[in-house]
Amino acid sequence: MTRVYEEIDRQLGIVVATVKQTLAYRFDFFTAILGALLMMALLYYLWTAIYASSTSMAMSYQALITYVCLGQAFSFARPGQRRILVRIGAGIRTGHVLMDLVRPTDYQLLTISDTFGAFLMETLMVSLPSYLVALLFFGISLPASPEAAFGFGVSVLGAFFLVSSVDFLIGLMAFWTMNVFGLVWGLGYLKIAVIDILAGTVIPLTLFPDWLRGIALALPFQGMAFTPLAIYVGTIQGSAIWTSILSQFAWGVGFVLLTRLVWLKARRRIEIQGG
């Protein structure tokens, strides 16, 4: 047991270090809030116009606006979320990955703890303030029920778990290709494209044509945005809240196990470039 405690202690140390590091760049929080609010305003007016132009829609106006604004407040498409890709990519290109590998902890745990620190700070300094502004000025609704509020919180954690395990998997590809530029920028773009659509960040999956909604609901990406947002506005309710959170975490665990296998292979292939 003491070994487990020691490991937890180490990971906490990494989280705290990241928190301190992000605090050194406070101006970034300010611009991130500004960005979230501007995007929120744009989407607010856009969806208001779309709603006014539609004859029938599968969601009420209030639920739609709440969903879209909340999606911008708690966005996983934010630059800070690229941390894993950037850390692995830059580490391999500069050779700094060696420093991470000789640390007395697991590389996968290390990157996830590091990103968790950033996620924690972004939630406190960017997501929550943006959310408050949305409540006060864009008139979005409170959670559909106390259960929805709790489910939303758990589901945001689930989304983080899912996003960071997928990121680690993408990052590991750099150990094979050495094409770090294409990886971080190229696959980073691709990830944004996939998340933007299949996660339902900007357009709720509820409003997709049937065939596409079927595909999106069968894939894990919905867990990155749609699941928490739909729980909040009450599109997902009752026992479905917990089954959807369960599936979110199941996908997350699946990706972690998969990346574990890939990582054990990748570790042996390391070539240190430069130094």
């Binding site: 305003a41 294409g182 190229g186 691709l190 933007d196 357009i203």
Partner: protein, 263 residues
């Protein structure tokens, strides 16, 4: 002029050699940037799966706006990806190396790293969208569109470039503004929707301060609706030059404040 043209060719040749070293990088970046742009286009079709028109604008009309905006923004990204690079030059002290050379500073940065060939695919998607939109319109555009469209496109690219350059210059006085720059660059997407859907203060912002509405919406609206948008439509091709002049003046002042990092 001939001197600059020759110099630019040298830069391009070197760049192609560098890309040849990282073929897979090039391929991944090229393909994924196309997919990202295509996904943006997909949004438009998803939105129109729920409605027939957006505040009176049909899908083909919206596609024309979208195509113009995307082609202009990515044109700037492909050939003039300069503003982002400036930070790197300042931080590493590399700017000193450029300062002692006998060519315009902006030109040197544009030559060394401003050409982002993988982004070229996006320009093609934008142009394709414009062509598809033109075939879907109920009545053809007036003949002068053949002159007006390219002008609006170039002006749009200049607007996009200039706004970013001004942002980059601000970092000479203030703190690192790169995250602000990325946010505002992201914001250009508002140019793909009718600016009239926004609240008045935002309409003003995106018409005069960050004139992204001048990149896609106003030129397209002028072509499609004529008189109603005449003033802004005629202003749009000039806005690029206006902002280019403004941003270059800001740049000249900013560079005088440059202090070497000295490493």
């Amino acid at each position: 002029m001939a001197y600059y043209a020759e110099l630019y060719l040298v830069y391009v040749r070197n760049l192609l050699k560098a890309w040849a070293q990282y073929r897979a990088d090039f391929a991944i970046t090229f393909i994924s940037s196309i997919l990202l742009t295509a996904s943006r286009l997909f949004f438009l079709t998803l939105i129109f799966a729920n409605i027939r028109q957006l505040e009176g604008w049909s899908f083909s009309e919206m596609l024309l706006i979208w195509g113009l905006m995307v082609a202009a923004a990515t044109l700037a990204n492909t050939f003039m990806d300069v503003p982002h690079r400036i930070f790197g030059y300042v931080r590493s002290g590399e700017l000193d190396r450029l300062l002692v050379r006998p060519a315009a500073l902006i030109f040197q940065i544009a030559g060394e790293g401003g050409l982002t060939l993988p982004a070229l695919g996006n320009v093609l998607i934008g142009l394709a969208a414009i062509l598809v939109a033109l075939t879907g319109l109920p009545k053809p555009l007036p003949g002068w569109a053949a002159v007006y469209l390219p002008l609006a496109l170039v002006s749009g690219a200049l607007i996009y470039f200039s706004v970013q350059l001004i942002m980059a210059c601000l970092s000479f006085w203030f703190i690192n503004t790169i995250s602000l720059m990325q946010t505002l660059a992201w914001m250009h997407q508002i140019g793909q929707y009718p600016v009239t859907i926004l609240a008045l203060p935002l309409q003003f912002l995106f018409t005069w301060v960050l004139p992204y509405a001048m990149m896609g919406f106003f030129p397209a609206a002028f072509l499609l609706r004529g008189d109603e948008y005449r003033l802004f439509g005629l202003l749009a091709p000039l806005m690029g030059l206006l902002f280019l002049g403004l941003s270059l003046s800001v740049w000249r002042v900013a560079i005088r404040h440059y202090q070497s990092a000295g490493s």
